[in-house]
């Protein structure tokens, strides 16, 4: 693993820009799928501000920069839990806003199987916060169990059990394997 640009850049004000350039859009997107976009953009910027200010506390022995950033972002989302739940309830009622992935065949397949953004939103709103965080880090960030553990500051086994419980609940509620 090369430490640059991520791990070296994070220590150096001059080169921290590479960390931002590499990860800003995915962090913005992750938060933007959990909260309204105006809040998400603020929180994405704040994620990097916090990362920059705490960069001397980043411990490369524990993993790479990316899960660390997702962890900061998830903590910030946690401060807006009510807004996130409100958003899911609104989506559950109204269905999804039109988006540019609407014609993706996978989406068509899922919708025809009855798994809509509305039903998923309702299910996500019912999950306990810890399970929802783990599920969405996997779903939106593509993080591995190890990375989720790093991001949330919990043990690997905790991640495994949260994801397992969440999977069982979502299967019951939605009627399909998740």
């Amino acid at each position: 693993m090369i430490t640059a640009p991520d791990e070296v850049s994070i220590t150096d004000p001059e080169r921290f820009g590479v960390v931002f350039d590499t990860h800003y859009e995915e962090i913005r997107r992750y938060i933007g799928r959990r909260l309204d976009l105006d809040i998400a953009e603020d929180l994405a910027a704040e994620t990097f501000l916090i990362a920059f200010r705490r960069r001397d506390r980043f411990d490369p022995a524990r993993g790479s920069v990316r899960p660390w950033l997702y962890g900061i972002a998830t903590n910030l989302v946690g401060r807006h839990r009510r807004a996130e739940l409100r958003r899911y309830r609104a989506l559950a009622k109204a269905g999804p806003p039109p988006d540019d992935d609407g014609h993706d065949q996978r989406v068509v397949d899922r919708v025809s199987a009855g798994v809509t953004a509305g039903r998923l939103s309702g299910a996500l709103a019912r999950l306990p916060r810890g399970e929802r965080d783990a599920v969405l880090l996997a779903a939106y960030g593509g993080l591995t169990y190890d990375e989720i553990a790093e991001a949330l500051g919990v043990a690997y086994g905790t991640v495994a059990s949260r994801l397992s419980r969440a999977r069982a609940k979502l299967r019951d509620w939605l009627g399909v394997e998740i």
């Binding site: 693993m1 090369i2 430490t3 640059a4 640009p5 991520d6 791990e7 070296v8 004000p13 001059e14 921290f16 820009g17 590479v18 931002f20 350039d21 590499t22 859009e25 995915e26 913005r28 997107r29 799928r33 976009l37 998400a40 953009e41 994405a44 910027a45 990097f48 501000l49 990362a51 920059f52 200010r53 001397d56 980043f58 411990d59 490369p60 790479s64 899960p67 989506l91 999804p96 988006d99 540019d100 992935d101 993706d104 899922r110 798994v115 809509t116 953004a117 998923l120 996500l124 599920v135 969405l136 996997a138 779903a139 593509g142 591995t144 190890d146 990375e147 790093e150 994801l163 998740i178």
Partner: protein
């Protein structure tokens, strides 16, 4: 992992950011900071090089004064100087290099590129031995600003024969550089990550520059310094006016000028006239000394501007005496530090070696499916 992929597939996605919002977020994230040490404790693992990196005090080759009025860089390829002159001082050499650079004609082409090899020295296995990580970084820009960064991870090996022996004694553990479990890599060894941008400004420390602003930067060192400090002050004001939490110290003016000036030289297609002004500006900073014949981590000799930071690392930029282009941007150990056991002062801890820099008709090639939003397709 594909777990919960259905959620990613079905839930509404987020539109790309509006023009200007990314730059705004970037400005906020780049809240100015200052610390006595340039590196926090863990980065002390950046470790010095071997004796090949010693500074050589004798001038060996300088560009001829006054020649090359229409000199051009040869397709962005750096070269070392061969012309000789009679024992000029390092300051005289710098003047000659800057004069020559300022006269260079450098028409913009379709793309601009800087190709660099990166070397990072790390302590491994609790300081039992040292390793060197090698990588490659290519930054692309165009007339509308930065476009793509391509970062490759080449590998890591014990630094010296003694380090190799210590590594073998320790059971030849897998070397993963700063990543202890070898699994969370953004760029695993042997792989390349492509980072395409949506159109954006150049970011140099806290200073944002549009491509046009970059082209129009002053060609006089004093004016360039003034503009950099003004732009920093404006960026700082924006940050203070935002609702982000307070904290952090402001860098000194010298630090701001150094960071932005070296960035202009190594990461942007600033005009040759602005780059010449940047060289003079940097060389005039109080903590900067000029040495001719300094060698970068690979032993290439050039004109070095070295800035003392007050900590155990000095920063230096090594300039090609023939072209005025950068050869290397490096961090040099100025004193032994406990967590870099056995490494002498004067060694390079971190280096970016410039292989090619300049405008080109070649274009960056992205892997199929790699876009600013598609991260997985961008790792090859």
């Amino acid at each position: 992992m594909n777990d919960f992929k259905i959620i990613d597939d079905v839930m509404p996605d987020v539109p790309p950011p509006a023009a200007g919002t990314v730059a705004g977020a970037r400005a906020r994230a780049f809240r100015p900071h200052r610390s006595g040490r340039r590196f926090p404790a863990w980065a002390g693992v950046l470790v010095a090089a071997t004796a090949t990196v010693a500074v050589i005090g004798t001038a060996v080759a300088v560009p001829l004064l006054g020649d090359g009025a229409d000199g051009r860089a040869g397709d962005g390829v750096t070269a070392t100087a061969t012309a000789l002159s009679a024992d000029p001082s390092a300051e005289e050499v710098l003047d000659a290099v800057a004069d020559r650079l300022a006269r260079r004609q450098e028409p913009e082409r379709a793309h601009w590129r800087v190709e660099m090899d990166r070397f990072v020295r790390l302590s491994f296995d609790g300081g039992k031995f040292l390793v060197e990580e090698r990588g490659r970084e290519v930054r692309w820009a165009g007339p509308d600003g930065p476009t793509v960064i391509v970062v490759s991870s080449v590998g890591a090996e014990p630094l010296t024969a003694a380090d190799r022996a210590a590594w073998e004694k320790a059971g030849s553990p897998r070397i993963c550089g700063a990543d202890s479990d070898c699994d969370n890599d953004q760029i695993p060894y042997g792989r390349t990550r492509y980072i395409p941008h949506l159109p954006q400004d150049y970011g140099l420390s806290s200073v944002q520059l549009t491509p046009q602003e970059l082209r129009e930067l002053p060609q006089d060192p004093a004016e360039l310094k003034e503009e950099i400090l003004e732009r920093w002050a404006a960026a700082l004001k924006d940050i203070e006016n935002s609702d982000t939490p307070a904290g952090g110290n402001t860098p000194s003016d010298d630090e701001k000028v150094w960071w932005v000036g070296t960035g202009l030289l190594i990461e942007t297609p600033a005009t040759p006239q602005t780059r010449a002004a940047a060289l003079r500006m940097l060389s005039a900073l109080p903590d900067v000394r000029i040495t001719d014949g300094s060698r970068d981590v690979e032993g290439r000799a050039g004109l070095a501007l070295t800035r003392e930071t007050g900590g155990p690392y000095a920063e230096r930029i090594v300039i090609d005496r023939a072209t005025g282009d950068p050869l290397a941007l490096e961090e040099v150990l100025t004193a032994p530090v406990p967590n870099l056991k056995g490494l002498p002062a004067g060694s390079v801890a971190f280096s970016r070696l410039v292989r090619r820099i300049g405008w080109t008709d070649e274009a960056p090639v992205l892997p199929e499916g790699c876009t600013p939003r598609a991260k997985k397709e961008c790792l090859r």
